[in-house]
Symmetry: C2
Subunit: 697 residues, 2 copies
């Protein structure tokens, strides 16, 4: 009986134990809140593979064909057609985004008056017309015949009918006019200049003090066509080279965003400065012409017009209040097949593939993805700038990174990338996973490193990633005004094969689908490679548990900048008792904080950490670039606040404010104070950035 | 047998079930990651009770005694003694903080030259001395005899020996000089003015254009002493009133922070502007005097001195990267028993009680708490301003709120609080839990509402919370430069019993421990009430799962401001075709976003939400004030960036930039553009704030 009881008790105990074990291990997963798994989820590599395989070159080609049917200059009927196209795609129930909408700004633009077309005429001293330049480019395909092709003109040039002796002023740089003025009285003359060397508007701004009354600007065949000039067999439609009548249009203003509403979103009732207070635009008339032509001008009109951004969103699942933004402008000067529709075609393909996965319930990113199709970029990055003005606070607080793909394919030789150093590694990772177009078993990365490389102390031989120190595309407001970590990528030239300053049909009526598909990227495989690379980066930024930004790579750039500054400036600064030690200490602090944070990241098991710990590190990485902003550091440079990447005229690979102040001080000894000031601004900003990386209080 | 088997099976099943249940419910808590409970933890009410009971009035009294042993003007030996005292307390192994340290800045201060004391003499036309004003205040306790008592002077007054006819210029307001100038030729005169009506330095700045060559400023017995003047039986040491020889010292500069390093932390090698470029200081000599005296002057010296902040930290357990900052300045003009040591004594008692709980392992706040003992406030809020300049980015990104307790007790009648409207409810909550000093069963809140109240549409009858629109204490840089939600509290007067502009010993050699303990707060029970109230708010800000900031209360203030603006300005603006509709829409957007966010909060079970969801809402609340910053809106007002709370000279309870622009435009019709500009700035900032509260993209 006792034995039976014992057996019973033992059995009971065994059964109880089994029950406890089953209860504990078999059911416990449900006892943790369901979100515990979600918040710890990292990027899914199989999803990346699926994305890469779905990106389709033919889709991109057909996107480009649709986008370039008609000219779509900002605010024209053609522009509205592209708005509708974007909205239709992004609102598609099967491949669209969560939401898409239009945002309208009322902006101040400058157009030629179709009733009074600009004229450039060569006359004899007795006013006899010797020669009249053509008012439009020669027709090779029906594209150039479209009545909506805008006459070549300089947006934001003042109106006028200057008449005077022509003088050749090279690139219109200050030094060009200075040299010329030694031998020629420039008063009352018309300067003829070639593109390059100085910004578009600067050619007129530099000329005015010498009494020049008008400026012509043409594209030099040596700069753009490798010297080729004949449309009988050399230039488009026989090749990618610009025909003799091709004229590069462009915006001739010097700042970005709507010029009547600086720092304010250009809504209908927003305060507008008087038009006569606009600065940075040509003070004298200026007109672009083709290289076959010579010369007289101009009467543009200025208008307030509604310009649209088209916005689309895929809402994040775990961190919807963190944004990865991907954008490109939509407006072109004429048909804009390369600039910007190559980028828009790529963006539409990305959104199709990602939108489909979302609509099918197969994927939703951890963070929100915002797509922006910007308006009126060609007139001065207006759509993107107004967007950042309107949503300044929210974007500053929540944006992890901005990816810009404007001209996606300049040429089909190699990848080109620019951006903050912290993005370098994730661009490399993505480029390694994409096949180089037209090459067997070579990655985009392996191809790239052959064309452009450098040796990094920490990373060895790596492709060279450029910096975003100018305002060449819509990243400008994100980088300089908001301090958001940004990048810009494209496929580009084999520089051993051409010296073209840019692809020759740039901003002309020859930048068409025909041109793109015949001479830039037949088969659209380079477009596909860009879509895959940029999309890969995008998914990783949106999905990675740890934001994939590397602060040690940023430290390396700061050290490079510091070394250059010490080499160039320290000796002269010491003579004036201005110490570079605070800057050296700041860079050292940054390096040490970056090293420490990287160690914390490496030694952490982030998937099992509290989500607030991961979030803390992610915020440190996200906000790193914000620490470099100083809204007062560059009072003369509109919207430039980023003390590492601001534009500079000194042309030195170092801190821009310091370099410019030093260059000024060399010619004007009262300006050494400004050098010291910029050293302090820089030191404080870099120390501030180090503080945000460090965990101390 | 079957029956036995059945029973056995049933028993076995029952035991197994029991086991499963035990296994599941008995052990499962351990299966969820351990941090799940921590991240959901809310404020512990029993801890608040414990805190309230531990705050000790006698401890505060002894703090004050130690702090006021010697004069401790910024950067003097007495100041260093208080630095050491703060460090000793905050590093105490039993009641100290996690960490405490000193931060030093090299700042530009102005002192009287002890070898050439300032003299004010009345002379006859033949230079015969008729009367010489006293150089120091009369001695009643040994405190006034301390050799370290600084001679009464005007910090930042220029040196000089002006000699001229005396004219009485009331309060030295622009209107005072204008009126006087109608009947008196002010050129070459010395103006004698009384404190009040205009800022200290403004009395001289306003005078200079009329040719006035020197200014005297005295404290009017009617303003400070309810008219009492005799030290035989009326003034201190017989009462709290200022003796006839008492002189209010003060800083006579108009901006805050070190004046040689605007927007830069004043470190040793930081760039300094030339001293002659300092703006906002008196252009002519100025000297404060007692009301028994009359007049001649002055030779201060200006020095670069090291000033220290003492910092202490209790590190947060769950969100160490979120800060609640509590601060007060440490420096005084003389012994500074009320200003600022009443606040410092309270802070030391808070840190003792909280530090002990931390050291004993009984408590650690959810968020980090930073304590700041600021240096050189009396010279222009220098320590706190330099701190915010040095750590700008980190503080902007991470600070939930700033609590300032400078003069903790002006008088012992009632609470007085100022701050952002979003803090109102948490101040009320804390004040309801503290007994009013000297009253039975009445809370600080119930007592307060009897002295100062208003009717709120949403909240009914509530105590009146003021705004922080000036730069009266160290909250200035936090509010105006950083846009951090801030508050300032104290115990203060029964206005039915005195008309004193401020407590009469303010900035004189009579502001001593003796004075404080006899006439301001015998028994230190009002100090205790402030410690309890401020500490209660502090703990709730640091510990609450949901950051206790209320955005709907902010909306109510914006609506009040809007209504005032519409009443005052709309008619005239309509006549000039300037629309107020964008501002109305912005305020409506803000209200709607606030209502929505409050609904989300109310309908959420935050303790069971993912911590990232709670964090998202907390970030929206924390960053709300940041959205109101515009670094370009007030180019003439140093460091003022908050478009709702910036200082204003228009004296209207509405948006400051709009009010000032409107006042200017009324007298100068070319200035209407500026009104429109400020409407756009405001609309954009308020819309931006609404965006940060809303969840859309």
């Amino acid at each position: 009986m006792i034995k039976q009881v014992l057996i019973g008790v033992l059995c009971g105990a065994a059964v109880l134990t089994a029950g406890i074990l089953i209860g504990h291990f078999g059911i416990t997963m449900s006892s943790a809140p369901s979100w515990v798994k979600d918040v710890a989820k990292d990027v899914d590599e199989s999803l990346i593979e699926k994305f890469l395989s779905e990106v389709d070159n033919i889709q991109i080609q057909e996107n480009l064909r649709s986008l370039t049917k008609v000219p779509h200059m900002a605010t024209t009927a053609g522009d509205e057609q592209t708005v509708q196209l974007m909205l239709k795609r992004w609102q598609d129930p099967e491949t669209g985004l969560d939401q898409a909408w239009r945002e309208e700004f009322m902006v101040y633009l400058s157009f030629p008056d179709p009733k009074k077309p600009n004229k450039v005429t060569v006359v004899s001293p007795s006013d006899e017309v010797l020669y009249t330049a053509r008012e439009k480019e020669k027709t090779y395909t029906s594209d150039q015949d479209d009545p909506e092709v805008v006459q070549p003109y300089a947006a934001y040039s003042p109106a006028g009918h200057p008449k005077g002796k022509l003088v050749y002023a090279n690139q219109g740089k200050p030094s060009d006019y200075q040299l010329l003025n030694n031998t020629v009285d420039l008063r009352g003359t018309i300067a003829i200049t070639r593109y390059g060397g100085a910004g578009r508007g600067a050619k007129a701004i530099n000329a005015a003090p010498y009494g020049v009354i008008g400026v012509l600007v043409y594209t030099d065949p040596l700069d753009i066509n490798d010297g080729l000039m004949s449309d009988i067999n050399e230039t488009y439609p026989h090749s990618w080279y610009m025909p003799p009548s091709g004229v590069e249009r462009g915006s001739f203003n010097g700042q970005f965003g709507d010029m009547l509403t600086p720092y304010l979103a250009a809504k209908e009732e927003t305060y507008r400065i008087p038009a006569e207070n606009i600065t940075g635009i040509p003070p004298i008339p200026i007109q672009p012409i083709g290289f076959e032509d010579a010369y007289r001008l101009i009467c543009p009109k200025w208008l307030d017009k509604n310009s649209s951004n088209v916005m689309g969103v895929i809402k994040g699942s775990v961190e919807p209040d963190r944004y990865v933004i991907y954008g490109n402008h939509r407006d072109s000067w004429v048909h804009g097949a390369i600039d910007p529709s190559s980028g828009t075609s790529v963006m539409l393909e990305l959104t199709r593939v990602l939108g489909k996965m979302v609509k099918q319930g197969k994927w939703r990113p951890r963070r929100s993805i915002i797509f922006g199709s910007w308006g009126a970029e060609e007139f001065g990055l207006i759509g993107s700038a107004e967007y950042t003005e309107q949503y300044f606070t929210k974007l500053s607080e929540r944006t992890v990174a901005y990816i810009n793909v404007d001209i996606a394919v300049f040429a089909n030789a190699t990848l080109r990338a620019s951006g903050m150093p912290s993005l370098q590694k994730i661009i490399f990772k993505a480029a390694k996973q994409v096949d180089a177009p037209g090459l067997d078993s070579t990655s985009v990365y392996d191809n790239w490193i052959q064309y452009s490389n450098r040796t990094s102390q920490a990373n060895g031989l790596i492709p060279n990633v450029g910096y975003l120190s100018g305002a060449g595309s819509d990243y400008a407001a994100f980088v300089h005004y908001l301090g958001i970590t940004s990048m810009d990528i494209s496929y580009t030239y084999d520089r051993s094969k051409t010296n073209a300053r840019i692809y020759p049909a740039y901003h002309t009526a020859y930048d068409t689908f025909d041109y793109a598909s015949k001479f830039i990227d037949p088969g659209f495989v380079s477009h596909q490679a860009i879509a895959r690379t940029a999309g890969n980066v995008l998914i990783r930024l949106a999905d990675s548990l740890l934001v994939p930004l590397n602060c040690s790579d940023y430290a390396e750039t700061l050290e490079d900048y510091l070394n250059t500054a010490v080499t160039l400036y320290q000796h002269q600064l010491q003579e004036r008792n201005i110490s570079m030690e605070p800057l050296k200490r700041a860079v050292a602090s940054f390096r040490s904080a970056a090293t420490h944070l990287d160690q914390v990241i490496r030694s952490s098991d982030l998937a099992n950490e509290t989500p607030l710990t991961v979030r803390r590190i992610n915020d440190q990485l996200m906000l790193l670039d914000r620490a470099f902003l100083d809204p007062l550091a560059f009072p003369d440079k509109y919207a430039y606040r980023h003390v590492i990447w601001a534009s500079s005229s000194a042309g030195k690979p170092t801190f821009p404010g310091l370099a410019d102040a030093f260059a000024n001080a060399e010619s004007q000894s009262s300006a050494w104070d400004k050098v010291h000031y910029h050293l302090s601004v820089l030191s404080q900003a870099i120390e501030g950035a180090a503080h945000t990386l460090a965990d101390e209080h």
